[in-house]
């Protein structure tokens, strides 16, 4: 099928994401970058976007009000996005413990992706961002709920999953591959499989 026909069919059948009245917390030290992300979210239909510049402010907002999703820069001062994710996931009496967390990072090295995954992030988005990459990843979080795993050493989304493209084929790129992951025989997943998975998600960017 020609690409244009496939894209038209995908667009017609793709699920529509409704961000209205969802509280989205954008945590980025750069006010301009934060404003750009806010602009993209507004374009997607979001009307309740909060911006903060530090991890302390994230924790303050989380303790003061309901937040539905956190978009957090990996280098957010002072804790950094990954330590902050661990702090949110690790606090047992925290009502936001299971909140979707998307890490935005200029560093998309394998090591960083592994660390984000092990900290309990739902997804990593490579910076610079594009509206398409942001929409596809939010959509993926929205339409593919993952189980949560609670062990003595990890609390967060199940790290054993495979990507089969974004909802209804949207966002799937020529280079995207189906990834077979380890058998579901325990809470841990072979490192290589998870790395491949996140690599695949990254290379699926525009």
């Amino acid at each position: 099928m020609p690409n244009s026909a496939r894209s038209q069919r995908s667009a017609a059948t793709s699920p529509k994401m409704n961000l209205r009245d969802l509280v989205i917390l954008v945590a980025d030290a750069s006010s301009y970058m934060s404003m750009l992300i806010h602009s993209m979210l507004r374009g997607f239909g979001a009307n309740k976007v909060c911006e903060v510049r530090s991890s302390i402010q994230v924790l303050q907002v989380l303790s003061a009000q309901r937040v539905d999703i956190l978009l957090c820069d990996a280098r957010l001062p002072s804790l950094g996005g990954l330590k902050l994710t661990r702090a949110i996931r690790g606090k047992v009496d925290n009502e936001h413990r299971t909140i979707p967390i998307v890490i935005m990072s200029t560093d998309s090295s394998e090591m960083m992706i592994k660390q984000a995954r092990d900290a309990g992030a739902n997804m990593v988005i490579a910076k610079p961002l594009s509206p398409a990459s942001l929409y596809d990843r939010l959509s993926w979080v929205a339409f593919h709920p993952r189980k949560f795993v609670d062990t003595a050493t990890y609390f967060g989304p199940d790290r054993r999953f495979k990507i089969e493209g974004y909802p209804n084929g949207i966002g799937r790129r020529k280079g995207d591959k189906l990834i077979e992951v380890a058998e579901e025989s325990g809470p841990a997943l072979a490192q290589g499989d998870i790395d491949s998975l996140f690599s695949s998600v990254r290379t699926g960017l525009d």
């Binding site: 667009a11 529509k16 750069s30 750009l36 979210l41 610079p128 325990g186």
Partner: protein, 158 residues
């Protein structure tokens, strides 16, 4: 040898409010959402040049006041150049983003104990000033191969 204790795992399905609400009727289709987001970004673009100039001024000041004994400026300069790289890239200013990213590589190397070559930093600042000009803003790194190669060689040498 003692056996590693088996980890107990609790696995549960957690459908968050975000997931429930995002799937409601009345959402925005992908293509419409992306188009609208692009329009919103365009509205924000005019402020970029002011932000860029301010960032470049801060970078220059940091570098002018840099003292070899005090490395705190490196972290601050790295933060500025990383933000510049991300923002310029998000707005589609590929050349600016490339140069800022190359400067991050130089500063990363200094942060991890590498040689602090101020000349290589000055070259990057000059390149950023050039790429900021109207006639260069929308160029890609491939369209200015001499500049791109020059910066690549600088980074390779550090």
């Amino acid at each position: 040898m003692a056996k590693t204790p088996k980890l107990e795992a609790r696995i549960f399905l957690m459908e968050t409010r975000f997931q429930k609400m995002a799937r409601r009727e009345g959402g925005v289709a992908r293509n419409d959402a992306i188009e609208r987001a692009a329009v919103e970004i365009e509205k924000a673009e005019p402020g970029f040049y002011e932000w860029l100039d301010d960032g470049l001024r801060k970078l220059k000041r940091l570098i002018a006041e840099a003292r070899p004994a005090d490395s705190s400026w490196v972290e601050a300069a790295n933060t500025h150049s990383r933000q510049l790289c991300e923002t310029a890239g998000t707005l589609g200013f590929q050349l600016l983003s490339f140069i800022a990213n190359s400067l991050c590589d130089v500063l990363d190397s200094i942060e991890s104990g590498g040689n602090c070559n101020m000349e290589s930093i000055a070259c990057h600042i000059d390149a950023l000033n050039l790429a900021r000009q109207k006639s260069y803003r929308r160029l890609t790194p491939e369209q200015v191969p001499e500049l791109t190669e020059g910066l690549r060689r600088i980074v390779e040498r550090i």
